[in-house]
Every structure is written in C-alpha cells, then in structure tokens.
C-alpha cells in the first residue's frame, strides 16, 4: 500500500467514523444482545438467569404468539397487494397529461403521510366510530348499515388496511417518477402498431415498473409488519387480540410485563420470519422483474 492509498484509507475511515461507531453500538451490539438475552429469563430488576431454549419452547405453546403470526400474515396479505395496486393506479392518474396543477395534486396525495401518526390515529378512530363516525354516516346515506370497524374483531384488520391506504404517498411519488422515465418512443411505436391503452399498460408500462414494484413490495412488507403506533393508539391490540401484531406484542412483553428475555426471543423469531419472506420474494423476483435496458 503506497502513501496515497494509506491516506485515502485513513480519510475514508475518519469521515465514516460516526457511522462506524453508530453501526456497532446501535445495530450490531443490540442485535447480538437480543439473541444473547433470548436464552435468559430476564425480569428487568433482577439479574438474568440462563434458561437455554426455554423461551423458544414457551413460544411454541403461546397462544398469543400464534394469534400474532396469524394477524401478521392476514394483515400483510391484504395490505401489500392492495398498496401496490392502489399506488400504481394513483401514480398512473397523476401521470395524466393535464395542463396545469399536477404538483398541487401530488402534494395533496402526499400530505397525509406527514400528519403525526398519533393525530392521524385519533382522527381515524373518530372516522371509524360505529355510531357517529364519518364512514358509517356516509354508508347510511347510501342505505348500508356499516360494521363496527375498529370495534369489531372481523373488521378491525380491514379498517387498519383502509387507513393505511391513506398513507401511500412515498410509494405513489416513486412510481410516478418511474413512470416519467418510461421512454415516450415505446408508447409511440406501440400506438402506431395499434396497441390500445390497456395493452400498452400491460406490455410496456408494467414491465418497466417491475424493479420499483419489487422495491415497493419489500418496503411495504417490512413497514406493515412493524406497524405499532396506530395499533397502540386505536385498538391496543383488540378487540379480542384481533389487531395484535409483533411490534405491540413484543413491546408489551418487554415493557408492561417486564419479561425481557421472552421479548428478545419473540423479536428474533419475528426477524427470522421477515428475513425468510424477504428472501423468498427476492428469489421469485428473477421470474417477474424486468431489468432491460439498464443492464
């Protein structure tokens, strides 16, 4: 290594130093720590005792754990496809060639995402209110007797999904900028060949969007599984544990029941499940993601 290379290495490390420390203290150490503590019984105020795989065995017989797994699968399977479809649909609409004001509409569609989640949750509790809420009032106007939404164990998860569709802003913006990158010539050529709007969407636009769709699926999935604040404020996991997701269950185990060891085991199992699903999606992506043109 010559002098130049040495000085580059030194400078590179020096400038990256905050993050090197940050990664070690705030990521690597805690991740290992969670794994380590998962083998202990650890009530915060007394020292931990080693219990081997006991936490993991408890977990298999823990009814709430299986409810949480079921809720997570239910919620993500409903939310992720809807999020992708609705985001693309809204991006297509925003991509219409209207004369003026597109940035205004873009701002309006994005706006809900910057509303503080606690405020948004209270607002949606009010909208979902079975008797006086906006939603049921509206349904009554068109002659439908609305369900109890958040108060009903059947409708609580769909309610959470519905609210989440209000928060698609970043995805919409990203799809929109990808749509604007689709070369106009492709559309022109297809149009000359007699392709209609639907065919162009199916054979040009969607294939060009697939890398972004993959990115969006992964992000939506990770975020959906980590939903916390909305549930904590609106339902506290109820009714009848129907909205209990991993974030809340782990939080409760750790900070309400002070059962840190078991919470760590839950966190690791959760992480492994997320990791496996992510890998599966990446694996499947070779079949449907189109990386033409850019190499």
């Amino acid at each position: 290594m010559n002098r130049l290379e040495r000085s580059r290495l030194r400078n590179g490390l020096l400038f990256a130093l905050p993050w090197l420390i940050g990664i070690s203290i705030f990521y690597l150490y805690p991740i290992a720590g969670t794994l380590y503590h998962s083998f202990f019984e650890y009530p915060v105020f007394s020292p931990p005792t080693f219990t081997g795989f006991l936490n993991y065995e408890t977990l298999l017989n823990d009814e709430l754990f299986w409810i949480t797994v079921y809720n997570s699968i239910y919620y993500t399977c409903m939310y992720v496809p809807l999020a992708v479809i609705v985001s693309i649909f809204l991006a297509l609409i925003l991509n219409m060639k209207i004369r003026k004001g597109i940035s205004f509409y873009r701002m309006v569609y994005y706006m809900p995402c910057i509303v503080p989640m606690v405020g948004a949750s209270l607002l949606w509790m009010w909208i979902f209110n079975a008797h006086f809420g906006l939603l049921n009032t509206f349904l009554r106007m068109i002659g439908i007797n609305g369900p109890g939404w958040l108060a009903s164990a059947t409708w609580s998860k769909p309610s959470l999904v519905l609210m989440a569709l209000w928060l698609l802003g970043p995805g919409i913006i990203i799809y929109l900028s990808a749509l604007q990158d689709v070369p106009q010539q492709l559309h022109d050529v297809a149009e000359i060949d007699g392709a209609n709007w639907v065919q162009r969407l199916r054979y040009i636009t969607l294939p060009m969007l697939t890398p972004i769709i993959l990115f969006d699926i992964i992000i939506s999935l990770t975020l959906a599984l980590q939903t916390f604040t909305r549930i904590y404020i609106m339902t506290r996991g109820g009714p009848a544990n129907s909205t209990l997701l991993f974030g809340l269950y782990i939080y409760r185990t750790a900070f309400a029941y002070l059962n840190m060891g078991y919470a760590c085991a839950l966190a690791w199992v959760f992480f492994i499940l997320v990791f496996i699903v992510t890998i599966l999606i990446f694996k499947s992506s070779a079949k449907w993601v189109y990386y033409g043109g850019e190499g």
């Binding site: 060639k97 970043p170 913006i173 916390f228």
Partner: protein, 278 residues
C-alpha cells in the same frame, strides 16, 4: 376537430378524477378541523355538518389552558432541532466518505448500511434500552437525541445517491492542488449538496415531530413530553371528548402541514431520490 374534442374530454376527465381522489385524501383532515370547531351537540347530528355553526374556540381554549401546551411545544422543538443538526452533520460526513473518497472497504460498508435499513426496530430495542438504563439516561432526551449524531442508514443512502451524481474530476483537481479532505468536504461538497441536505433535514424534522415510540419508551415525566406523547396522554384523560381531541390534533398537525406546504418541492425531490436503484 375530432382530435381537439378528444383532448378536451381527456382534460375534463383528468381533472375530475384527480380532484375526486384528492378530496378523498383531504376529507379526513378537513373533518378534523371541522370537528374541533363544533359545539358538542352539533358533533353527533345526522346528516353531518361540514361547516360548524356556531363556530366555537372552546375546545382550543380547553387544550391551551388545561395542558402545559407551551412546555410541550418547547420540548418538541428542542428534540427536533437537536436531531436535525445531528443527522445533517453525521450523515453528510459519512456520505462523503462513501462516495467521494476511494478507500478499500467502502463498498462493504455501503452494503452493511443497506442491510441495516432492513433491520426491524424491535430487534435492537431491548438491548438499547438496557444500555441507556445502565447509563442512567432513562427519563431524559439523551437516548433519543445522541444516536442521531452517529448517522442513520436511510439518510446516508439518500446522500450517497445524490453525491454519486457530482463530477469527481472537480474533487480530484482540488486534491492535486493540495486541498485537504476536510476543506473539499466543507467548501466544495457541502454547498453543492445543499438541496439533498435540505431534504434529509425535512425528513428528519417530520420524523421526529411525529415520533411516538421513542419518547414512549424513554420518557417518564409528563412535563418532558413532546407533542406526540402529550397528545396520547391527553387522549387518556379526555377519552371520548372528540372536540378536545381534534383541537389538540389540529394544533399538533398544523405546523408540519404549513412547513410541508412551503417546502414540498424539496420534500418530493427527496422522496424521488429514495426510489432510485443503487
């Protein structure tokens, strides 16, 4: 002629559908403000009234007089400002290292950074809590603010995406002229990446203003609460008093909406940047 009519129809259709969906996105917020200005009897009438009559500021009065609202405001501003400063300094340094200095290992560090983006917060939460408890930092803002001075993966990723587009020859020329790395970073790169720094500052501002879980775990004393936690605490006291809850929500939401309104260009530019493939 036919083409002209078709285009006109297209325009009308475009505006109609954009506005309909726009209203759907906007209605909930309007409903919040409208509820906050209504008297209690009017809140539960059918069909619902969009325009309060009479308009009352009673709910706002209750919020401002029964809670230490100014204290909450001060706490929030303190928390947000301290984090924004930390993030801008630390992430710009790291971003510079990852894209402007050619050193062995920077690719690996970049991939690790991307990997940390995928780590669920819940996986690191408990040991971090233990560390801060050992340090005696529980009940203070330290566990919330200090990590911001050590970088955050999403912003580092964003800055790197932006820095990659800078002409590298310029930096090399400066190096040949004997400029130190720090001067290149400070005098050349920082001015060039101001738009990206503004975007991450805005993201961090909104993120911290809205942050709920962090304060929930680390703060104890009600007088130290930022808005997000204070609002939830207020909800606990005023369970179904929707007027009061919506008034407090409006007061918390409004500053962010105003800032967003004036900075939306920078903001949306930043969101776009996050979608560009590495």
């Amino acid at each position: 002629m036919r083409k002209k009519t078709r285009n006109l129809l297209y325009q009308i259709f475009g505006y109609a559908i954009l506005s309909t969906i726009g209203i759907l996105f906007f209605f909930p917020l309007l409903w919040m403000v409208s509820t906050s200005l209504k008297i209690d009897q009017q809140m539960f009438v059918y069909p619902p009234q969009w325009i309060p009559n009479p308009i009352t500021l009673n709910h706002y009065e209750i919020v401002l007089t029964t809670t230490p609202f100014l204290k909450y405001f001060y706490n929030t501003v303190y928390y947000v400002t301290a984090c924004v400063i930390g993030i801008v300094i630390s992430c710009s340094l790291v971003g510079y290292s990852l894209s402007c200095i050619r050193w062995p290992g920077r690719e690996i560090l970049f991939y690790i950074t991307i990997a940390t983006l995928m780590i669920p917060f819940i996986l690191t939460l408990i040991p971090l809590f233990m560390i801060f408890k050992t340090l005696g930092w529980i009940g203070t803002y330290k566990p919330l603010i200090i990590p911001a001075y050590f970088g955050a993966p999403f912003y580092i990723f964003l800055l790197r995406q932006f820095l990659r587009t800078l002409p590298k020859d310029l930096l090399d020329a400066a190096r040949i002229d004997g400029c130190s790395e720090f001067r290149i970073y400070w005098n050349m790169v920082i001015p060039l990446i101001k738009p990206a720094l503004a975007a991450i500052a805005l993201f961090e501002f909104v993120h911290r203003w809205n942050d709920f879980l962090g304060p929930l775990i680390y703060l104890r004393d009600e007088t130290k609460y930022p808005f997000s936690l204070a609002l939830q605490y207020f909800q606990g006291i005023h369970e179904v008093e929707w007027g009061n809850l919506m008034a407090f929500s409006t007061l918390v939401v409004l500053p962010v909406l105003i800032i967003f309104f004036f900075t939306q260009k920078t903001f949306i530019q930043g969101v776009k940047l996050s979608g560009i493939k590495g």
